[in-house]
């Protein structure tokens, strides 16, 4: 048993563009528990609880971001002042909060039947989203796409072993999205 008494401290979180709190949160509580228990955001999965499977991965947008962070081994108070994105934040919603369009990554996984039980999917969605955003800033050669996708998604475990379809979906998306590959399709003019 712990000899350290669990104190609470007020915490304010920025999740999916929305501010939550301040709310008193035990200072040794991990982010995934706060997302589930305090914020009602249950899309982030608690898998192994030790940072190995990456089902709990969320996206942090800070000076080093966007980057993946494992929410089951990172204390909630670490995220004070940092912006978080969870799997709930990717799809486009209408004013009532109803989902009207999935993100490109989510759609690609659906199109490729990438997941079966879906437990690892939030982690894969976040990892692939980070990959796409990084490639938009630093495009790579077509020949490197496969190894880059493998490197980005390799740490994520899928007990249904849907790896091939996840990787295929991510690769197809990278190839089809303008501006991610230096010798790929040209970047389209963005309409505001």
């Amino acid at each position: 048993m712990s000899t350290v008494p669990s104190r609470k401290r007020p915490l304010t979180l920025q999740v999916n563009g929305r501010s939550y709190g301040p709310v008193d949160v035990p200072e040794d509580m991990m982010l995934v528990d706060v997302l589930h228990e305090y914020l009602g955001l249950t899309g982030t999965r608690f898998g192994c609880g030790q940072g190995e499977c990456r089902a709990c991965t969320v996206i942090v947008d800070d000076a080093n971001g966007p980057r993946e962070v494992r929410s089951c081994i990172t204390g909630a108070h670490y995220f004070e002042g940092r912006r978080i994105r969870t799997v709930e934040g990717h799809a486009r919603r209408d004013e009532s909060g109803k989902i009207v369009e999935l993100s490109n990554v989510q759609q690609a996984f659906l199109d490729h039947f990438s997941f079966q039980c879906g437990y690892c999917t939030p982690g894969f969605v976040n990892a692939t989203t980070v990959l796409i955003e990084k490639l938009a800033k630093a495009p790579i050669a077509q020949a490197d796409v496969e190894s880059t996708v493998l490197e980005a998604l390799n740490p994520h475990l899928c007990r249904c072993t849907g790896y091939v379809r996840y990787y295929q979906a991510a690769k197809d998306l990278v190839m089809a999205t303008p501006g991610l590959v230096t010798d790929g399709p040209a970047k389209k003019e963005r309409t505001p």
């Binding site: 712990s2 350290v4 104190r7 200072e27 940072g51 204390g75």
Partner: protein, 422 residues
């Protein structure tokens, strides 16, 4: 001096030079040829040789991970440049196929190859110097009965002037001909065997004994630790050093045979040593090793009181934010996931070097002998600045390590600065 006299001297110098070059070519050529050796070994002799080859940990440098066994190629980074382990399979051209057992023994214990060139002391001949002829012959018989691999030796990248191999004659006279003083006190048969295993075959001092400016082992301070070889320091493993960090014979034995113990798990290069060498030792030899390391009269492991009063503050918040998820909110760790930090050897170490490096760099996945495994630890160089790492290290050492002295920001800055060097 007259012009004629000068000319005469120059002419003689030229003649001498030509003679030296020719002699080198001829002896080099003679040295490289010679009959291919065939060695007969019974199954028992082969097994015995394999065991001693494990104890001497030849594979650590002579087998490149993923490459053919003992075919060389492993790059060993030293302060003098990168040196590659050589091919010691029985291949006649790239390996040791033409070595006789005499020549093999000479190379092992005197650091001179068959063709007469001096080996770099990265080959631990300064330690192997008093290896028994019987053990050398057994290792030779084992290696000579392995499959020959025709893999050329990798080119070394040793800087000038350390790359002048001839100069090593002088180095050897000064530093390689010395008796290694015992690191502990003892007289028992186990202690004597242990001394041979640790100092000679296991060549533990090559990393754990500090080195001087010329790369020589400082034999007046054997096993007292070395911070300068790799990214991680080889800690003090004298009896006093081990006892100060709370080691006893049982824990040491567990550590050497499995890579895990109550005090620490083997990491970095020591994990390789455990995997390739100490985990394969017989029970008797393990006992001998720990007996020698601690001495016949093993000092009592130092007891420390965990300071549970140390609490609130930014360092503790860093701990909860970044460490507690795996190491537990009271440092207790999780079996097969993350080590316990309570009384952990690196946390207790008077020198915070390894603790700081672990926090900055993180650690890769640990695959222990057998099926045991520990997951990787992320590095926090991007999350914590020098002051925060220093504060966290100080807090960990006070809380779990019985070390009251604060870790300085400068120590963290230095180790952050040298991150890419290793």
């Amino acid at each position: 001096m007259t012009r004629v006299g000068m000319k005469r001297i120059l002419a003689w110098a030229l003649v001498i030079l030509v003679v030296i070059v020719l002699a080198n070519l001829i002896f080099g050529w003679l040295g490289r040829r010679g009959p291919v050796q065939h060695v007969n070994a019974t199954a028992e002799q082969f097994e015995h040789g394999r065991y001693l080859t494990d104890v001497a940990d030849c594979a650590a440098c002579h087998t490149n991970p993923g490459g053919a066994p003992f075919a060389g190629g492993y790059p060993l980074a030293t302060p003098f440049g990168t040196i590659h382990g050589t091919n010691i399979t029985p291949d006649p051209d790239h390996g040791i196929g033409r070595y006789t057992s005499d020549e093999f023994f000479h190379a092992l214990t005197r650091g001179e190859a068959r063709d007469g060139h001096q080996l770099y002391p990265a080959m631990p001949y300064a330690s192997y110097r008093t290896m028994t002829r019987a053990d050398s012959d057994a290792i030779y018989a084992y290696l000579m009965n392995l499959p020959a691999v025709a893999q050329p030796n990798a080119k070394n990248d040793v800087h000038f002037p350390a790359n002048i191999r001839t100069a090593l004659h002088g180095w050897n006279m000064l530093f390689a001909a010395r008796e290694i003083p015992a690191a502990s006190a003892g007289t028992s048969a186990q202690w004597t065997r242990g001394r041979y295993l640790v100092d000679i075959l296991g060549h533990c001092g090559e990393c754990h004994t500090p080195r001087g400016a010329l790369g020589q082992m400082k034999l007046d301070r054997t096993m007292s630790g070395n911070n300068d070889l790799g990214r991680y320091a080889a800690p003090d493993i004298t009896p006093a050093g081990l006892a100060a960090r709370g080691w006893d014979a049982k824990m040491l034995r567990e550590y050497l045979s499995t890579g895990q113990s109550k005090r620490a798990v083997a990491s970095d290069e020591m994990l390789t040593v455990v995997g390739l060498s100490t985990s394969r030792l017989s029970d008797e030899d393990l006992t001998a090793m720990t007996t020698y390391l601690l001495g016949d009269e093993a000092p009592a492991p130092k007891a420390i009181a965990l300071d549970t009063r140390i609490g609130e503050g930014p360092a503790q918040r860093s701990y909860f934010n970044l460490c507690a998820g795996c190491h537990g909110n009271d440092g207790q760790g999780v079996p097969n996931v993350a080590v316990s930090l309570r009384e952990n050897s690196s946390v207790r170490d008077a020198d915070p070097h390894n603790l700081i490096v672990a926090i900055l760099d993180g650690l890769p996945v640990h695959d222990f002998p057998g099926i045991a495994r520990m997951q990787d630890m992320p590095g926090f160089a991007d999350d914590l600045d020098d002051a925060q790492v220093a504060a966290l290290s100080t807090w960990l050492r006070q809380r779990f390590g019985g070390q009251s002295e604060a870790v300085s920001e400068e120590a963290v800055r230095d180790l952050r600065g040298s991150r890419t060097k290793h």
